[in-house]
Symmetry: D2
Subunit: 234 residues, 4 copies
């Protein structure tokens, strides 16, 4: 404790874990927020620099509670990585009004709540970083992204509005357009079981780029970048 | 009655009225949906081809009710123009979580509800038109569009997803990027009181373009176009 | 003669002919410019309202000569439709430096030359229309658009710069993102021989949209719109 | 010699020098190509790991010659940074046909020539990096970018086509959207003499991001990112 604090909203296996490991390695204390309250695998119970919290990013009350606990336990949040998503896919007649709303709550409303809570504190300190795990679906709709594209595009333009508002106050907001399938046990088994290694984006490499963004000098900030595996057809 | 039916969600002064007049002129029966239940000015009470309904586009139950009444009274809806918006502006610390949600409900959720209700009917008939009044804010966030940009971008990528899904079924979905201030009594008085005529977009001209889109041949459909006054700085 | 004048740079079978027929129908005198000097099929030799000229859009001298002849013969040009393209496709190792340059000359330099010649005249008259046949390749590169995408994107951002400069002077510049295969004898035979009717964009329908753009009221101009067949996968 | 080789096309004060210093620091041997044949300031004449060459990026023959000399002197090029630009600005009636062509030759044709020469070699080796200094003008035209926007957008979509073609062969192509004024003696004196420090992008920070891109793991490559100072209004 006493170091810089990184909160990860939407912690979990895959990308969330990669963010956690990469920022821990870089010396950050970690506040991990997830619906399950999962901890970083291999983290010692006595490791007070890694704290896990149960909260629902789609529920403002719950999310505010989680972020406040991080600050109570670890101190002011320097970097927040917004990584929460429902990632539900389907055509218009396959998705429900509830799913449409839930997707938006987790992707967009939760980011709004996070920015409301942390933005003014970061503004007062004159520094802070907000990084969002985005997707190509933020740029356009497609036949199977009836709920996902609207949720992600709302998230992206919110991040864009935040970047323009908070940048001059010293807060760096960045949006990652992740274009491809992230390599996890789940995606290997269920989403793309027969694809070779090179089909997948390694989550640790996304996290490296996120760390680079978190450390960019304020005279040359990046708002948006895309990330995809070299063999991707795009 | 017996002609083609055009429903306008978010009817009101300015653009809503222009849509109504233009499509009435073109022979459509009109179903006008608004929170106030306003009727087309000058419409005879005995004019059964123009029906006004009170409903809230941000409330799915209410919106479904309104659209169903249009169909009960006038028959299947051929063209729906989605023109509902809250158009609230402000920086992060000037807008509330409630406003963020309400903006999204009216702009995006209402369009989803409309498409759910009408999309399958139109698909069965193999024809139909869904036109959405959009804005430049759908493409990017800005310092004063903390709620508006996320709402409009969610609406745009939803429209985009719908266009790709419903196009092959004969339903034309189109999105208007309206870039400028629409000429109404309200905008003249409150938003841009000292601007000359040429500063404003005339709503009747937007409606003309919408009518053209509604009548485009299916071999050459437009999904998206921008509209701005010739003197606009952009 | 004595009516409005429409010049078509890059006249030929398919879209060029459709533009010609549509604008002739709408009462325009036509100046047709092409490398072959082809005339509108069925045009009476005595029809002095249709004039054909041989010129190369990729050669500034030749293009200026052709446009000047149109003005000598028919009077000031009110509408110019820039429809010239090489449409060569190939990967990096399949295309030559010469092709890269020629594509740019025909798509982009020719539009610059046209705007240089006509823009100041139109500005003096306070009116004029410049419509450009564009393509999705203007927005992004792809594996087979090594020469085409750079040529079309240069053309598009030039048109965009022209729209912003000339709009306030009363000149309407518009760019059509044509996304799909145009129905011509050639594309039917060589490009997509086994596709059904609905695969193709009918050129007459593109021309209709162009005519609508040419007649848009200046309070509500469109710079860019996309056009594709309803069944297109995009 | 014997280390990795980085060629910088369009070497000069400001960003070119920053690229050179950053990649030299990272252990690269440098091949510097510029119209003046300028050397890296402070480079010892005996430092055979830094070689300067006189060539014109807008002249294919000259550029091929320069790149070949780099390879003769230093060995195969691992990283090429394409940093050449004319950066001429003006409205339609302020720029000439020659300027329009020259801008394109330096920004777009030179990149094509570079990719032709190096792409196949890099493909054979299965690795290589091509980084392009881009600009916001690549995305849209504006009133003063009549020549610059078409040149940069051609460059960007070419880079995009190259990224899609060469990525699967192990070559990383990346495009930097530099959005702001780079801090150099020249821009301080002539372009923005009264602006505070924070108005400018520090070239060394752009170069850092370029180095990061050059070292990204191939499972998570970035094609495009934007860079601007934190106080920029955008």
């Amino acid at each position: 404790m006493g170091g810089k604090v990184c909160a990860i909203v939407g912690f979990g296996p895959g990308l969330g874990t990669a963010y956690a490991e990469t920022f821990k390695q870089a010396g950050y204390d970690l506040g991990l927020l997830s619906r399950s309250g999962a901890d970083l695998e291999g983290a010692e119970p006595s490791d007070i620099s890694v704290c896990a919290y149960r909260c629902d990013a789609g529920d403002p009350e719950s999310l505010r509670g989680g972020l406040s606990l991080v600050q109570d336990d670890l101190g002011p949040i320097d970097v927040v990585i917004y990584n929460a998503d429902l990632a539900q896919f389907g055509a218009l007649d396959e998705v429900s009004e509830l799913q449409f709303e839930q997707s938006w709550r987790v992707s967009a409303l939760g980011l709004f709540v996070t920015a409301k809570l942390l933005g003014s504190q970061m503004s007062e300190r004159g520094s802070g970083v907000i990084i969002v795990s985005g997707a190509t679906a933020a740029l356009r709709g497609n036949v199977w992204t009836t709920t996902f594209a609207p949720a992600k595009s709302a998230q992206r333009t919110l991040a864009n509005a935040l970047a323009k508002q908070l940048g001059p106050k010293g807060i760096h907001v960045a949006y990652l357009i992740i274009d491809g399938v992230i390599d996890t046990e789940d995606t290997r088994a269920n989403f793309a079981p027969s694809e070779p290694d090179e089909f997948f984006i390694k989550p640790a490499r996304i996290a490296e780029t996120a760390l680079m963004l978190a450390h960019q000098d304020k005279s040359a900030w990046t708002f948006e970048l895309d990330i995809r595996p070299f063999g991707e057809k795009w």
